[in-house]
Amino acid sequence: MNELQAQLQEWKAAIERFVPRWWPKALAVALIAFGLILPQLFSTTSNFVNTEILALTYVMFALGLNIVVGFAGLLDLGYVAFFALGSYAFGWLGSGWFFKAHVHVLTHGPPSTLPGIHLSFVLILICAGIFTAFAGAIIGVPTLRLRGDYIAIVTLAFGEIIRVFALQGPSLKIFGMPLTGGELGISGTDAPYLPGVGMFSELNIRPWYYTIFVLVLITLFVNLRVRDSRLGRAWIALREDEVAAVSMGIPLVRTKLLAYSLGAAFGGIAGAFLAAYTTLIDAGEFQFGFSIFVLSMVILGGLGSIWGVVLGALLLANINYYLIPDVFNSLPGTFGLNFSLTDLQVSIFGFLLVIVMVLRPQGLIPEQRRKLELTRGIGETELDEPEVDRAWASVEPGEAVK
């Protein structure tokens, strides 16, 4: 085993000698160019591009969750709350749902004459981000004194509570108007309008693709900049050792709440975009399974590793929305078996999670720092060692990190 590893490292070093040092940048540029060209290769209503729009939305969700779970080490199992709130922000501000109100800000085309609150698309996205950022801070407050798994449970509980409100919205009235559409959903959302692009529609999904592509690029940029900033380093310090970080003068409350807020804001913006794209805000979507789906992307890719998370999200979303239902669905049939793959979708997904975790628990592209901890820290012991725990925020009192 060790010989094999040594051999692999030798090869790796040999490859690194040939590849110029700027290859990550070149790769990034190439990937962006590829992403820009991609929809042009398919028709304007192609199912594949549709999947990629969903996948990119999930990239944004996953990057948001990565700030909370990966950077700050706060296990959030209620991320669906921000998807829900972002979606409702779009439903409330970009449709005729509040039919008694007549508010129009920078709207264009048919929505500017209809009753209800109608804001321009970009404005709604910004509002959704601000709204969910506040919500994230509020959800974060009760978890400040808790650790690890307890944070997970509190966030899970908040997610479920928001789901209850989403489902029971029709019976909750504000100014005589129902709060949400419940399981029937809020439908008839405004089609986004961007100057220079025009009205978005189902007949040409390329503008949707480019919008989410740009949003993902912005998210990536913010993530990369924040990770290396003072705030990002504070998050990592808190994640590694809260007591030490606080005694070094890191403001605990502000730093943690900022992680929740920023993570939530990205989730909210992605949720608002998804609501605009699907034109229906249905409370049935806001299930615990969504939180798990996004968390799986983050962990599969590698906690805290931005590029890993992007890869994990793209992979899982494509498997779930494209490969299983569309590409391989008829595969058992071609072998004469009498079932379709969609029946097994959930368990295929489950198997995948189990196998990947057992074979590569650190994720596909592990964060550099965590990789060092894993290889240096624990050696051959089988049981849960304190060194491993430390990567995960449960620090024993009075012990120094070795």
């Binding site: 808790l146 449970i153 605990l252 012991t381 990567a391």
Partner: protein, 383 residues
């Protein structure tokens, strides 16, 4: 079943560390605040839990509730309704308690939220129903047939679910003991999905009614108007012996001692000659067996099963385990009973659609007021 020190209490330490420099003029106010916070932590939760029944008791006695007496509809002013709620809550809660014990055992020993546990319980229900139809139990079966057949079904469910849980641990969790803490959590989620899919293929995507073998709605006894149904007797009657047996096992036997030792410090336990792997497997076996028992009781109690029941029950039971103090067996039972009572009361009075709001809202308040749970502190020894 608990780590020697709760990791939760640490946070107070860190908060205090932060407040060190500014302890001058405001120290008296700060001390008072800390005192209030401590009192809220100790008594606030108990007060909150008592507030529910007291509010409803006062409400019933003064405003009354709509009922049927002396041949016409009227408002009744007594505590019968609340009593019914509590009896149903205790019987339903004892099912949650059985599942919660599985969570708490596993968490106590390897600090993992076993997300697949609720789905093991669901598989238990389905195994039970399939088994009793296979051996020919139906509505026409005589009492003798039920007396022989149902314990057999219970045994089969416990064995199947115990074995399933051990298998999951062997395949999914054991290879990950040295991995980052979230990795086994994700395999747990993976297994949960797999089991849900099994349930979906087995019994279809909607709720399935099963034959009401024990006539769960028949009255067994009536104490001053509070009716105790057969279902209540069944679920309490299965839970109490199992919990007593488990308590005896953990506190009195050699293997139980090994479990407690492993929960406290796996490394030291290994040095003392305890086979840690076997002990962890045994813990999963017991947890799974209890979930299987809960599954069968649930099928008889609710007379409907479906593939997502495990997910819902899992969330509720986990809440119960946390509320009682995770890692603590008595706490899991207590938490299960409390959640059951709250659930039944809210179901009957506010509406089942709002129950999750109350259950999870309470959970958040519990964790804010008393993060170690109701019985969290006395878990140094077995529990």
């Amino acid at each position: 079943m608990q780590r020697p020190r709760s990791t939760i209490r640490l946070d107070w330490g860190s908060m205090e560390a932060r407040s060190l420099p500014s302890r001058t003029a405001t120290s008296v106010a700060r001390k008072a605040l800390l005192e209030i916070r401590r009192a809220a932590g100790r008594w606030g939760l108990v007060a909150l839990l008592l507030a529910f029944p007291i509010y409803f008791a006062v409400h019933d006695l003064t405003t009354g509730y709509p009922g049927f007496a002396h041949g016409h509809v009227t408002r009744i002013h007594d505590l019968t309704y609340l009593g019914t709620n509590i009896v149903e809550g205790i019987s339903n809660g004892s099912i949650w308690a059985l599942i919660a014990i599985g969570y708490t055992l596993v968490y106590g020993i390897i600090e993992l939220i076993n997300f697949a546990h609720g789905d093991v319980f669901m598989i238990g229900s389905m195994t039970g129903v399939s088994f009793w139809s296979a051996i020919g139990l139906g509505l026409a079966t005589s009492t003798l047939g039920l007396v022989v057949g149902l314990p057999l079904a219970l045994l089969v469910c416990m064995l199947v679910c115990g074995a399933l849980n051990v298998l999951i641990e062997r395949v999914g969790y054991r290879p990950l003991r040295g991995a980052p803490r979230l990795a086994p959590l994700i395999t747990a989620v993976g297994f949960s999905f797999i089991l849900q899919n099994v349930g979906l293929l087995w019994r279809g995507g909607s709720t399935v009614g099963v034959s009401d073998l024990v006539r769960e709605n028949k009255t067994v006894v009536q104490i001053s108007g509070v009716v105790v149904h057969r279902a209540d007797v069944l679920s309490i009657g299965v839970t109490i012996p199992l919990v007593i047996l488990l308590g005896w096992f953990v506190s009195r036997t050699r293997q139980g001692k090994a479990m407690r030792a492993t929960a406290q410090d796996p490394e030291a336990a290994r040095l003392m000659g305890i086979n840690v792997d076997w002990t962890i497997s045994l813990t999963f076996l017991i947890g799974g067996a209890l979930a299987g028992a809960a599954g069968l009781v649930y099928a008889l109690y609710e007379t409907t099963i479906w593939y997502l029941q495990g997910f819902e029950a899992g969330l509720i039971a986990f809440t119960a385990a946390v509320m009682g103090g995770i890692g603590n067996l008595r706490g899991a039972v207590l938490g299960g009973l409390i959640i059951g009572c709250i659930q039944q009361t809210i179901d009957a009075r506010v509406g089942p659609q709002w129950t999750p709001f109350f259950v999870f809202g309470l959970l958040i308040i519990v964790l804010v007021l008393r993060p170690q749970g109701l019985l969290g502190e006395e878990t140094r020894e077995a529990g």
